[in-house]
């Protein structure tokens, strides 16, 4: 058959979804205020558990900065591996470790981001959800405040508020 070799390649839908999340994460750096001590050195994003988001964040780290701060992406297998970071993204597979992670990060200014139903009410400041096929995020300003983070009202208008 003439057209037998015309099978088109399937694009990577995972990468597209991760790209959207990465863009969100970049935007969070604009709409959330970290304490002055966090505005120097590298801007560290930690990922707890495996996630396709890592690849997109690594691409972002090559191209973008937060002011003068370069991005550094750190991968943590377990809570015990977590070190100081500006953002901690808790992958879906590590939702069960969220409470322990938050406890470990007490007294730091870390934006805790999750991706599970109800997590914004269980400690994370930002929680990714899907609404009508669209990626959106829940915002818990109180949880952000517990880590010394100030959230812009502009971000609040775009979020699904849970507190």
């Amino acid at each position: 058959m003439l057209a037998n070799d015309l099978v088109a390649q399937v694009p990577d839908g995972n990468a597209a979804n991760s790209k959207i999340k990465a863009i969100f994460l970049y935007n969070f750096t604009k709409y959330i205020e970290w304490p002055a001590s966090y505005k120097q050195g590298e801007f560290v994003i930690g990922i707890l558990g495996s996630s396709p988001l890592v690849t997109e964040l690594e691409k972002m780290a090559l191209k973008s900065k937060v002011g003068t701060q370069s991005f550094v992406i750190k991968k943590f297998k377990d809570v015990s591996d977590i070190t100081s970071c500006h953002m901690l993204y808790i992958s879906n597979s590590k939702t069960g470790s969220m409470e322990a992670a938050i406890n470990k990060l007490k007294k730091t200014s870390t934006l805790v981001i999750s991706e599970c139903g109800g997590c914004a009410k269980k400690g994370s400041a930002i929680n990714f959800v899907s609404v009508d096929n669209k990626q959106r995020f829940e915002l818990n300003k109180t949880n952000a405040g517990k880590f010394g983070l100030q959230v812009s009202s502009n971000l609040a208008t775009l979020a699904i508020m849970v507190d």
Binding site: A8, V10, D12, N14, N17, I23, N27, L158
Partner: protein, 384 residues
């Protein structure tokens, strides 16, 4: 029996008469013995009739006992004897009748050649067609059969004996063999030999001779596809489609040409133009055959890819409001893709590409449950 006419006038030659008598009684073994004696006897060894009878008797042996045997010895003995008869017979007493038997035997080679070709036993086919052409010369030195020459060329192409293929196909062309396949096969030989210029020259010759022939156009389409001459391919496809508007394979090829042009286009306006052309062409295919698996699949992928590309090409610094609009736009495109991929799935539920596509589209629509369902089906297939 025809042979009787000749025997009556030469009854004084006992062994020949004996051979004839045995033949009439269907005693082929004794007929062979008698005629072998006659043709080796000094008295009759130079008699054309002895050789004619030998040829006739061995032809009967071939017909009755060896017609299914490759390289039948009786057929060859018959031909050798008849050949001698023709060369010994200046008065043309037996030569004419000998030629008739030769003609019959040559046709058996031709039939064997055709049968072997149909069964794709190409070496055997070549051998039989060559024997056929050789025996034809015995029948009439000035006559040849161009179809046999073409078939030898074709079979040689199949065995990758490109030199033999070229010699015979070119000869068939010189002798005006009237079949567009000749041009198609000859172009394939040149393509295999990486002589692309010769390949297209032959196809152009073929197209001049057969301007509306679908096979020649198809061959040109394949040529341009394999050599990556995308503009020429597009032109040929349009011409072919004008001749065969319902040919979905040609339409599929044209859609792919537009996709290739879309990928190569440097600005988004051009990309958009080719995408629209590709989309329209796939829709045409589905208008002809809504159950065309590949058209459904490719159209779904085209939309899916459009949305994914829009997302992937966005800057990481894209403002969150712009991102929201982008998501809305892409959701609509993903949803356009979905019914075509679902149709492809309904047509072939075990197709891994389709399952990958469905899982990916639902994932992009943030419908994890459905995405996982199709991923599980794909994983199950991969385990088999």
């Amino acid at each position: 029996m025809l042979l009787g006419f000749f025997v009556q006038g030469y009854a004084q030659q006992p062994k020949i008469t004996e051979a004839y008598t045995f033949l009439q009684k269907n005693d082929l073994d004794n007929a062979v013995k008698a005629i072998e004696t006659a043709t080796s006897s000094p008295e009759t060894a130079n008699e054309p009739k002895a050789w004619y009878y030998k040829g006739f008797i061995y032809k009967e042996v071939y017909k009755r006992k060896e017609s299914t045997i490759d390289d039948s010895p009786a057929r060859q003995k018959s031909l050798d004897a008849l050949s001698k008869c023709i060369s010994f017979d200046p008065k043309n007493q037996f030569a004419e009748e000998s030629r008739k038997v030769v003609k019959y035997l040559s046709s058996t080679f031709k039939n064997d050649g055709a049968k072997a070709l149909n069964n794709r036993v190409y070496d055997k086919s070549i051998k039989n067609y060559e024997n056929y052409l050789q025996t034809l010369k015995l029948f009439n030195p000035n006559y040849t059969d161009t179809s046999a020459i073409f078939f030898i060329g074709y079979a040689a192409y199949e065995t990758k004996d490109y030199n033999k293929a070229l010699v015979n196909l070119k000869k068939a062309m010189e002798l005006n063999y009237n079949d567009p396949h000749l041009y198609y096969i000859l172009s394939r030989v040149y393509l295999d030999k990486k002589e692309n210029d010769n390949a297209i020259k032959v196809l152009e010759l073929g197209q001049k001779k057969y301007p509306n022939d679908k096979d020649i156009l198809t061959a040109e389409v394949i040529y341009y596809k394999e050599t990556g001459k995308i503009d020429e391919l597009e032109a040929k496809l349009k011409k072919s489609i004008a001749l065969e508007p319902k040919n979905t394979e040609l339409q599929m090829m044209l859609a792919l040409v537009y996709e290739k042009k879309m990928e190569a286009a440097k600005d988004n306006t051009k990309k958009g133009e080719f995408q629209t052309k590709a989309t329209d062409t796939y829709h045409k295919v589905l208008g002809i055959n809504p159950n065309h698996l590949q058209a459904n699949y490719n159209l779904a992928i085209l939309y899916y890819n459009e949305a994914v590309t829009k997302i992937q090409q966005s800057d990481f610094e894209t403002d969150i409001l712009v991102l929201s609009n982008l998501q809305d736009e892409c959701i609509l495109i993903f949803k356009k893709s979905l019914p075509f991929m679902e149709k492809a799935y309904s047509l072939d539920p075990k197709n891994k590409n389709t399952l990958t596509g469905l899982s990916g589209i639902y994932f992009s629509l943030n419908d994890e449950e459905k995405s996982n369902k199709y991923k599980a089906e794909l994983d199950a297939l991969n385990l088999k």
